[in-house]
Symmetry: C2
Subunit: 332 residues, 2 copies
């Protein structure tokens, strides 16, 4: 039996048997290291031609995106980054410039968040491959897990606009597309794809609003695989349902001008790689959070007891439909 016979899900099911269930299942593994703190760890492997390509993203931005994706996983757990390690496989005929630019992009992103590269490994392979492991610290009672959402009318918050990264990718792949965009707007969408920003800046705002006393009432993950995926994963892990209002999903005005409302919503829900946080928390806290974050942050829905997840329309134009995962990217 080959990997292609069982697919990515089949393989993951097999491999999860080798991991303790209580450690995995979130954006990071969380390992308590003392009574007050835990270590949050996340690993990404990137393969040339699969996860990056010089066609859309030169090595500098491939490096930036790799670092940003890992830091975003830490942010999604409520963890402050400590460092990353980088394992790199290169071919004999890989350009030295490519490698240096990749590291320049990676460190440019990491430096914004005061995160050093704490070594790694360099090996030879016919396929350029990068594995980044990021680790951070989280105070135990401030861990943001997928499984902590409540069904009692908690708000679902997106910390910023969605769909811009997908639009930027389209502009890079398809030069015919978006010819009428102003140069600044075009650049802003392309940078949303090439230079995403992990939302570590949101953490202190959360801590300020939720305080240090009592239970830390929040759940969430990042929207790296799309806003729909994040909402559905948190609902499933928490055993709650949701009503998400399509009118409330934050979409940048540039994107609204560029494509039809249907495409804009599709890219916001399924485009992925916006690297925002999708947070579930009590409504009063959510309102404060959205106000303090600003810049497109919005309450997009509420949790429900019934475990169905609905995409509703407060404007009354579209009928309610079930929100589905079905644009999930199958790796095999």
């Amino acid at each position: 039996m080959l990997i292609k016979d069982i697919g990515e899900q089949g393989l993951l099911t097999i491999l999860q048997k080798f991991c303790p269930a209580e450690i995995v299942g979130d954006d990071c593994a969380v390992i308590p290291t003392n009574p007050h703190k835990s270590l949050a760890i996340t690993t990404d492997m990137l393969v040339d031609g699969v996860h990056f390509s010089d066609r859309t993203t030169g090595p500098y931005y491939a490096g930036w995106r790799a670092a940003a994706a890992n830091l975003s996983d830490l942010a999604a757990m409520g963890a402050i980054p400590l460092a990353v390690t980088v394992a790199l496989a290169v071919a004999a005929d890989t350009a030295v410039d490519w490698v240096e630019e990749f590291y320049r992009g990676m460190t440019a992103c990491l430096e914004v968040y005061h995160t050093p590269i704490a070594g790694g490994d360099v090996v030879r392979s016919s396929v350029v491959t990068v594995a980044i492991t990021a680790f951070g610290e989280v105070e135990c009672d401030r861990t943001i897990r997928r499984s902590n959402a409540r069904s009692s009318g908690w708000a679902i918050v997106a910390t910023g606009v969605h769909g811009a990264s997908r639009a930027g990718l389209e502009l890079l792949l398809n030069p015919e597309f978006g010819q009428n965009l102003e140069k600044g707007d075009r650049t802003s969408l392309i940078l949303a794809h090439q230079r995403p920003k992990p939302r570590l800046d949101v953490l202190p705002v959360i801590w300020e609003i939720l305080g240090c006393e009592g239970e830390f009432c929040i759940a969430g993950m990042d929207s790296s695989d799309g806003l729909a995926d994040a909402i559905i994963q948190v609902c499933r892990a928490s055993g709650v349902g949701a009503k998400v209002d399509r009118q409330k999903i934050p979409i940048s005005p540039i994107l609204r001008e560029l494509v039809s409302p249907e495409t804009a919503l599709d890219w916001a829900l399924y485009g992925g790689e916006d690297f925002e946080l999708v947070l579930f928390l009590p409504m009063d806290h959510a309102e404060l959070l959205v106000e303090k974050i600003g810049n497109g942050a919005a309450i997009v829905g509420i949790t429900t007891e019934n475990t169905d997840i609905w995409l509703t329309d407060s404007s009354g134009i579209y009928p309610d439909i079930v929100l589905k995962l079905d644009r999930g990217f199958q790796h095999f």
Copy 2:
């Protein structure tokens, strides 16, 4: 300019510019997390056909060896393992059995040392590639660094026999070799190669001997790249020299019977992958340590003020020669 034009050392020189010098340069990166503890981190990337091959080591033992190599790096820093993460790239036509056996081997080794796999990543690639990152904790004043050795007649300790892993590899590669060995002896050499044991068991002995008070007088690393490499790396990092007595290097009796004394010494010094610790510490502590560890542990030399590293011969047969990294005396 391509990677092949600058070689591995050239590439490492470039990449080290991106890492803070105070964090790298040992078997693990060490990051202080509180006044009393540090996090030790190590990453290895393994590529099919380069680092493992079904010819000598099926997937089970490839997994065991990968886990052992990472745990050995933690042991070399004096760190107790917390967890590992595993990033895996597989091809569509990789056998599911291969992946499961690799994970079985990895977890078999990890379980001996109570170390969970805390998740990871699974991606698609044409070349099977595994990146393992291991995390451990070390009390700050117990960190074993390469740079702490003193020139005042400290002893150099090898925690066990060397050369057995290289002999096991030869038996696997060359069926004509070692036909006269007894089956048990043959198996023991092959297992030294396939199922090496990281010397985490040595750490409590070190702590007992060195105590908790005052300065923690020890330096060291593991012998994964050979005993000669370990001695030379520690001497260079500490700015000391050494005299290593070829008669004191611990070599298993089976290996002494199997090959000439010259080949046995060559394999012990340069074979690599024995995954013992090579420790530099004051003579009185070293004598206690060797006695308590037993099983081939030996004082193989002493440090000197002069930074030359000599291979001497207390039996008086061979002249003193400079100990080199590059097999300067291959098979004499």
